[in-house]
Symmetry: C2
Subunit: 425 residues, 2 copies
């Protein structure tokens, strides 16, 4: 019964999983529904920006040559022959000593080659006609935003694999993407194993606990932008579990199970992988929590993530192994989270025989990142996942750490990690 | 036409807006739909954790008093009378020199007062009966996780105003919240003003630009967890604009307009506020971009945010003024974003007559935060919003900054700011 397992280093485990990267197909969604999705094709500028020569100020458009003689002593007067706001196009052509009043963003009228800001002019009426005068010579081309000076038509504006943020939607709108090519979401099935599990809506029962991993992993899948599929629970029964897993595989891109991967007497996942003909990539990782995390691959490359039934280990297992695979599905260039150093605010006296992932919260003191474990006392063990926004990563083979020590932190909520494993960044 | 406006400091503007904070009502949603929502009532533990005395290991439960004589030379033998996994409850009561094989998480059987880890025992069969022997005396109570040692029933587990993360869903599930009390989302109307605006699906037209602010603000509202309502565009016509705004107010909790707040000849918002009887809290802020940002309050306290039509200014205006008001609606204790210092990676030679918000991207070098403006050259002006994940905040009255200088950054994607204005943190 006491199966011997060979633990492998975290980094090696991550790399093994990433040999089975897959990418999603494209689908088109309305721009309004694209927030948080991932771009499936390079987004091109469909026009120059600006699309036409335009005024960067509220002012007057005119011919620079008419201002040659202007000075404080000898203001030059211009007849104001039109008045246009952004979006309007004047039908007039500016002739000698004529000007058109123009608002920010409006197209430079024909005949004009310069704009003067409204604050530098004086306006007045004479015989029912509007006039403007100015006191300085102007240089042709001044105060004109030139067509294409920011972007040329055909430029790549948003790269494939970029996640759609509000700022990205502004680009998509500018370039006419009323529907957006995004990567189809992978369907990620979740099977909960364990006789001890009650439904969330169940009353408490002796010896049992409510299934919190399902809701947590479901939310982690959503947060990673994928499509969770709750495939229900299976009890600690081999045949039922085997059939549930087998059936699930036909419905999903990736399958997650929670529980059942330990070496306990009722942990059937290892035997299920064997019967399915799946290759077990690893079934023990040199880390805490989550050492029993198991990942297997079907002959067609479909991944089965066997996460621990322990909630903290389950959470870590998802963030380390599943989330980057989802981001890779989306062509994300850097699918791994930001990895930084931080100053430890409290002692962490536990020794670390293996790489330890400590649930923690980071904060800034000036420009210095500091980090506090969220599970320092027993009463907060339950809430430590809820309060954590990063992991402190303590190397295996180290003794305790003290307040003030520099430690490495995996900022799993932040982008900015590498293109391969975060540990090697 | 050239209205005089009195600019007020950013901090004062933020404080004025927050005099009109409102809070949302409660609604109940299924746990699976609660990710990203905000908790409307304190979440209580509905049971102790652990809910019963349980085993933290795979091992054997037995009576400590029977182990008194155990030693390496004299192992003590126990009859194994049952075998339970997590979720199972043994019906047996342990008597002298009896043990029950017990898996992690299972309830301690009646009669037992200690658990020994499986690794410290030897199991064998004798005449068809299972036995276990051990070689050391045990202390009553060892290796038992006591009922309530982590959480006592009635404890507050998640505070009102907390946003639901995957970790929080685990707590909600544990304590039986199959439906979750969350704050009803505020409906945030968006009206686009400007004759120059084309729809995203429109072909380009001379003198016009596509409306990118609508999609961007719509996405910003979604990202802040609120309910956007696209109320269409109005052209630069006073009466139409007035009626559109008036009608909109009856449909929304908060109204955003984009454009029309400048002092250009076709900017009607100021006159609309006046005709509505709204109090203008400010119509000029000592900042760049976004100096024309205007906020007004109706007599009933309903807020009207007049954001600039310039995309960068519009983006900043939302993050500074609208987002924290949404978070306050959700009872968020600290509605302002994280504010930190960072090392500037590039020169930023522009002088800053007013507080300047520079779109930028942050990264970590070790534990040191550094920051790079995303709009350093003209060609990236269009993409600078899309690439930004923070603002560098340069104080008004300063000259340029150089690479290596420490600057302040507003990390608008990160929580962790203060309960009042971020500038005073």
């Amino acid at each position: 019964m006491m199966e011997r397992r060979q633990p492998i280093p975290v980094e090696e485990a991550i790399k093994k999983v990433h040999q089975y990267e897959k990418h999603g197909k494209v689908e088109w969604v309305p721009l309004k529904d694209s927030l948080g999705r991932f771009i499936a094709e390079d987004i091109l500028a469909d026009h120059d920006v600006p699309a036409f020569d335009r005024s960067p100020y509220d002012g007057f458009a005119l011919r620079a040559e008419d201002t040659k003689e202007a000075s404080s002593e000898h203001p030059v007067e211009f007849e104001v022959i039109d008045h246009i706001g952004a979006g309007m196009v004047s039908e007039e052509t500016i002739g000698p000593f004529q000007a058109i009043r123009i608002m920010t963003g409006a197209k430079i009228p024909d005949g004009a080659n310069v704009v003067i800001m409204i604050e530098l002019t004086k306006t007045f009426e004479k015989d029912g006609t509007s006039y403007m005068s100015l006191k300085r010579p102007l240089k042709s081309g001044d105060n004109i935003s030139r067509q294409g000076e920011e972007v040329l038509k055909g430029n790549v504006m948003v790269k494939k694999g970029t996640s759609v943020t509000p700022g990205v939607t502004a680009l998509l709108a500018t370039f006419g993407y009323a529907v957006v090519p995004v990567v189809k979401k992978p369907v990620i099935g979740i099977i909960s194993t364990g006789t001890e599990l009650l439904q969330v809506s169940d009353a408490m029962e002796d010896g049992k606990i409510r299934n919190s991993n399902l809701s947590m992993v479901y939310a982690q899948v959503l947060e990673a932008g994928a499509e969770p599929l709750d495939l229900g629970g299976v009890s600690d029964d081999f045949d039922k579990s085997y059939h549930a897993v087998k059936e699930a595989l036909s419905k999903v891109d990736i399958l997650i199970t929670t529980g059942g991967v330990s070496v306990g007497d009722f942990d059937f996942l290892p035997a299920i992988y064997e019967k399915l003909g799946a290759e077990v990539l690893f079934n023990k990782v040199a880390m805490r929590p989550g050492s029993v995390t198991t990942v297997a691959a079907m002959p067609n490359g479909q991944l089965l993530f066997g996460l621990s039934g322990n909630p903290a280990a389950c959470f870590v297992g998802f963030e380390l192994f599943v989330k980057p695979i989802i981001y890779k599905w989306y062509f994300k260039e850097k699918p791994f989270p930001a990895f930084a150093e931080a100053k430890l605010t409290h002692d962490f006296p536990k020794a670390n025989p293996f790489t330890r992932f400590v649930r923690a919260a980071f904060q800034f003191t000036g420009s210095q990142l500091s980090v506090t474990p969220t599970g320092l006392d027993k009463s907060s063990a339950v809430t430590s996942i809820a309060e954590a926004n990063c992991f402190i990563v303590l190397p295996g083979g180290t003794r305790g750490f003290q307040a003030g020590d520099q430690v490495r932190v995996l900022l799993f909520q932040l982008e900015g990690g590498g293109s391969t494993c975060w540990m090697t960044n």
